[in-house]
């Protein structure tokens, strides 16, 4: 969807981009401050209309700026640097901005809820979502790894109350576990960054700037640097939902409101994984790159295993989707570990496509909850016939997630396997395929049981207000996102852009 | 008389003086503890002399022995008193000088402590009364938890000196006061202080003034002793308390102690050492008694927790003394 929507706009902006050096930095600041200003507007104005659309506006701002920046910096453009070098947008950052914007637009637009905007806490919800977006943008555009860390920790803080937003014992339990586990995991990452900083200090030039580390290649002590990079990768991988540090993810994703689940699942994981990618690049540049690669390979396969085992036995729809996210992050991690150009390109597309599909599916899962009053898989039957406005898009989203053609995920997964075989990871690819099959069967069975077949006899004839709202909610964002998820991988003009992104994270041919 | 012999004589004189000072002062220390407690409670108190009066009176009374008690009933008090006297001679309180043939080595000191502990435990068991056996069992449990801590703590203190003898350890701290505030030293002294509190049956491990048999540890073991047997046991325990307290005081504030120097400590140094150790021990007694007033005795099941904690501190002190000094 990103390219579909923004191509003309981005082209225009990119033209202006090359015109003067002011436009690039300005775009970075707009992407960063736009969501923050939206949050401020909600706090100050408190109008219902503002509360309703502020997060959608913020997402659009991020998407537009991200598209323009990506168009500007890709294909040989110079990276945009501002704030004295603290912020820097290279093709990877631009691409991740586009992912953030596109997925956030899907989730917030699809999650538009006049009912929530009317409620007393609607303002708080929208404020937190906007701040969450701002934190993610900061995490993506920061060049200093310390600032990235601060921003990633900021995403935990801003989402804490969103996870517990529903209230009640389960939501507050999920929020507690989420904050404790995520902040401890990310704390470990900070310890890693500290060690990295100590290593660079001993090498004579103390810095946490990613680009300086990559270009200057200081002669760091290998043991300390490896410890630091491993801890940092491990810490950020916690936030990216890689097993065995995934324990918070199913709880948080199943208890958060649907749009927030979509955001967390679709982009927060991707943003955290972006940090892991930068750590991996550092490992490759400063050391031999073996340590982080092994970590990613083991973590990725373990994530696939965990997801496969638990998706099959899952009884809750949103938890099932959460485990599906763990599965896809596992695939992404394996792709990053394989590390050749094909695998990395597949991984990048996979991040975007999975984000769009997952956000749509979560949005639809929220509507399922609103209509059926439950997310228990066993209690939902025949959605396609009882509520086609919900059942059909939900089925489409689930099928996209499962990677059936024409889903983009089919292509990326196929590309990953091919890339893995080419690089001599045959055994890993065999495991990946088996586990993918298990997930496919487990999730497919549940989705078919929920959507196809005869609906259960209607119990209460009086639909709740939330159900009415869900049945009339817009389908456009979901449709657009799913269409993009299917078509995007076929868009050959984007290959050049992808190439330049892959170059940032160092894809060996 | 050659200088060497003269030096040895002076060392012997110093050690004898030290023992006498400790024996005379130990009941006074108990008097201080009781008096401080009384003053915190708003009472007048019985005066510092009272423990001495009690001892003299007990020694003049007819010792009774429970029917069925064995030779242990009169041997054990002698052993307890003997171990206390030996501690008073060995542990550097007034002077760090010690006879060469009887080193105040860490392991010797802990063994002497243990001999007294075991004798006391046997004394509790001897009469075959229920409370005595219960007290002995608790006492030996606590001892088993405390001894490793004492060993580790003193070992940690010995690392920077390179000797496990107590005299050089105290001298080393005197020579290099930085060690007094070094983290390993602080951890070890804290661990040692807790171990001393447990070893001498003070609050929070044991309540020396309890009348409830079910909560007793030390008192339960001596329930059957009377007359001069009781006097011996009490004096032995008080000697232990005074010596260990003086040791901790000397480790924390090593100044004033008479060092071995060349050819044994001179008389002025010894006089200063006596004054210093009396002042230091009395001060630490005031601190201990004050702390006791504001603390409750721990449940017996919580005591292992306390002692594990002190063991961990001692352990950290050992690791720390190798790494951060």
């Amino acid at each position: 969807m990103a390219a579909v929507l923004t191509a003309p706009l981005a082209a225009g902006l990119a033209a202006g981009f090359t015109a003067g050096p002011v436009v690039g930095p300005a775009l970075v600041w707009v992407a960063l401050l736009g969501p923050a200003l939206c949050a401020l507007a909600v706090l100050l104005l408190r109008r219902r209309a503002v509360v309703l659309v502020a997060d959608v506006v913020a997402s659009s701002v991020v998407l537009l700026c991200g598209g323009a920046l990506l168009a500007g910096v890709a294909d040989g453009g110079a990276a945009v640097v501002t704030a004295g070098g603290l912020l820097r947008v290279d093709p990877l950052a631009g691409y991740l901005l586009v992912v953030v914007g596109a997925v956030a637009l899907t989730a917030t637009w699809g999650g538009l809820s006049p009912g929530r905007a009317r409620s007393r806490r609607g303002g708080r919800y929208t404020t937190l979502v906007c701040l969450f977006l701002a934190a993610m943008v900061l995490a993506v555009v920061a060049d200093d790894l310390g600032v990235t860390w601060v921003a990633v920790e900021g995403t935990t803080i801003t989402t804490a109350f969103l996870v517990g937003f529903a209230g009640g014992r389960r939501a507050v339990e999920a929020a507690w576990k989420y904050v404790v586990l995520a902040s401890v995991g990310v704390g470990i990452a900070f310890l890693g960054l500290v060690l990295l900083y100590a290593a660079t200090r001993a090498a004579g030039d103390p810095t946490l700037s990613w680009v300086r580390l990559v270009t200057d290649r200081p002669a760091v002590d290998p043991t300390v640097a490896r410890m630091g990079l491993l801890l940092a990768a491990l810490g950020f991988a916690t936030k990216a939902g890689l097993a065995p540090m995934h324990a918070w993810l199913p709880d948080a994703h199943s208890q958060a409101p649907a749009p927030v689940s979509g955001l967390m699942s679709g982009v927060l994981l991707a943003v955290a994984f972006g940090a892991v990618l930068r750590i991996q690049r550092l490992d490759a540049v400063l050391l031999d790159g073996a340590a982080v690669r092994t970590l990613l390979l083991v973590g990725g396969l373990l994530s696939l295993l965990v997801a496969a085992v638990l998706v099959v036995t899952q009884r809750d729809l949103k938890r099932m989707l959460a485990y599906s996210s763990i599965e896809h992050m596992g695939l992404v991690a394996v792709a990053a570990a394989v590390g050749n150009r094909l695998a990395l390109a597949a991984m990048l597309v996979h991040l975007l496509v999975h984000g769009l599909a997952k956000a749509s599916t979560f949005v639809m899962a929220g509507r399922v909850l609103a209509v059926e009053g439950t997310t228990a898989i066993a209690d939902v039957h025949g959605l396609v016939r009882s509520a086609p406005r919900i059942g059909i898009p939900f089925l489409a989203g689930a099928v996209t997630l499962l990677g059936l053609p024409p889903s983009g995920l089919f292509l990326t997964e196929a590309a990953l396997v091919v890339a893995g075989l080419r690089s001599g990871y045959g055994w890993a690819m065999a495991i990946v395929l088996v586990l993918l099959l298990v997930v496919f069967v487990g999730m497919g069975r549940a989705v078919i049981a929920m959507t196809l077949g005869a609906p259960a006899p209607a119990g209460s004839s009086e639909p709740a207000a939330a159900a009415t709202e869900a049945l009339s909610a817009p389908l456009a964002p979901v449709a657009l996102a799913l269409a993009a998820a299917c078509l995007l991988a076929l868009a050959t003009p984007l290959a050049g852009t992808l190439d330049s992104v892959v170059a940032v994270i160092g894809g060996a041919p | 008389m050659s200088g060497e012999v003269a030096g040895e004589v002076r060392v012997v004189v110093a050690v004898v003086l030290q023992t006498v000072v400790v024996v005379v002062a130990a009941p006074f220390l108990v008097g201080v503890l009781r008096q401080v407690r009384a003053r915190w409670e708003g009472r007048v108190g019985q005066g510092l002399l009272q423990p001495w009066r009690d001892l003299v009176k007990l020694a003049r009374k007819e010792p009774l022995q429970a029917s069925g008690s064995t030779v242990v009933a009169w041997v054990a008090p002698v052993v307890v008193l003997g171990s206390g006297l030996l501690l008073a001679a060995l542990v550097p309180t007034v002077t760090t000088a010690g006879p060469a043939r009887l080193p105040a080595d860490l392991f010797v000191v802990v063994s002497v402590l243990l001999v007294g502990t075991v004798a006391l435990g046997l004394l509790g068991l001897d009469a075959g009364s229920a409370f005595g056996g219960m007290g002995s069992s608790r006492h030996l449990t606590i001892a088993a938890l405390v001894e490793p801590t004492v060993l580790l703590a003193v070992y940690a203190l010995s690392v920077p000196v390179g000797s496990t003898a107590l005299g050089p350890i105290v001298e080393g701290r005197l020579a290099d006061p930085g060690r007094v505030v070094a983290p390993a030293g602080v951890l070890a002294v804290v661990a040692l202080a807790i171990a001393v509190v447990a070893e001498t049956a003070r609050i929070p491990v044991d309540n020396p003034s309890t009348h409830l048999e079910l909560t007793m540890v030390h008192e339960a073991m001596v329930l059957e002793s009377s007359g001069r047997d009781l006097a011996a046991v009490e004096l032995g325990s008080w000697l232990r308390l005074s010596v260990l307290l003086a040791l901790v005081a000397n480790l924390v504030v090593p100044w004033g102690v008479a060092t071995a120097g060349d050819g044994g400590p001179g008389l002025p140094a010894l006089a200063l050492g006596v004054v210093a150790v009396v002042v230091k021990t009395a001060a630490s007694g005031v601190v201990l008694a004050t702390a006791e007033v504001f603390m409750a005795k721990l449940r017996l099941f919580r005591v292992p927790e306390l002692l594990t904690g002190s063991f961990v501190l001692a352990f950290l002190a050992v690791t720390g003394s190798y790494v951060i000094g």
């Binding site: 310390g146 014992r169 507050v172 199913p250 | -």
Partner: protein, 241 residues
């Protein structure tokens, strides 16, 4: 200040941090963690100040002030604060789910597990920390490298506290010890991360503790128990597979 004095001061303050960490592991369920946490925070601030003096970096004095206020005063106070039920608006239950009314039970006696395994575990963790820090102490020059294992030890002990803590307050304490450990490592190994990062990190930690504090009081409301130190988190078992 000579380098000998500096290294002695660093060793003393680091030892103080280690001691307070052990005290926190040692502490019974009813005693307040505020004192040891505050001492740990001030020790950390002192460490920063000493490094600032030793390396002649006035910026570190500012950081020391910040650390002292944050970790010595604000965070320990936040941890022990029990927000009153009436003050904060409790989250109303979701409309579609009826709120279960539970009697508010306040146990008079706080149940506590034996701390012995945790204490012995902490001792083991300290050894692990010393071993793990060895390569780092090799590259860190100056007076501070010797004390570096203390930072690692604090991280591990904090982790153990967090993992074994049964109450919201104990987990919070574990988190703070962990964070103090990371900060100690940062200052000892690098003389402090860049000021911007330091400010951001401090803000993050403050916000995380605030968030956890609010969530803790919500847990108390939701699970209906206001024991000292927060609800027994073993009750949090509604979400599982």
């Amino acid at each position: 200040m000579s380098s000998g004095d500096a290294s002695q001061a660093v060793a003393l303050l680091a030892g103080l941090e280690l001691l307070t960490a052990v005290l926190l592991a040692w502490r019974g369920p009813a005693s307040s963690p505020r004192g040891p946490l505050a001492v740990q925070g001030f020790a950390l601030a002192g460490l920063v100040a000493v490094i600032g003096v030793a390396e002649g970096e006035p910026v570190l004095w500012l950081v020391a002030l910040l650390v002292g206020v944050l970790k010595g005063v604000v965070l320990p106070t936040l941890v022990v604060r029990r927000p009153s039920r009436a003050a904060g608006p409790a989250a109303p239950p979701a409309a579609d789910r009826p709120a279960t009314v539970r009697p508010v039970v306040r146990p008079a006696v706080v149940r506590g597990r034996s701390r012995v395994p945790l204490l012995l575990g902490a001792a083991g963790l300290v050894v692990v920390a010393y071993l793990a820090a060895r390569p780092v102490t090799r590259v860190v020059t100056g007076a501070t490298g010797q004390a570096l294992p203390v930072g690692f030890a604090l991280v591990l002990v904090g982790f153990a506290l967090l993992a074994t803590g049964r109450r919201s307050q104990s987990q919070l304490v574990g988190f703070l010890v962990l964070d103090n450990g990371i900060a100690t490592t940062a200052f000892l190994a690098t003389g402090g991360v860049p000021l911007v990062v330091e400010l951001g990190v401090s803000l993050d930690v403050l916000l995380v503790v605030l968030v956890l504090q609010v969530l803790g009081s919500r847990i108390d409301t939701a699970f209906g128990a206001g024991a000292p130190g927060g609800t027994d988190l073993d009750q949090l078992r509604e979400l599982h597979d």
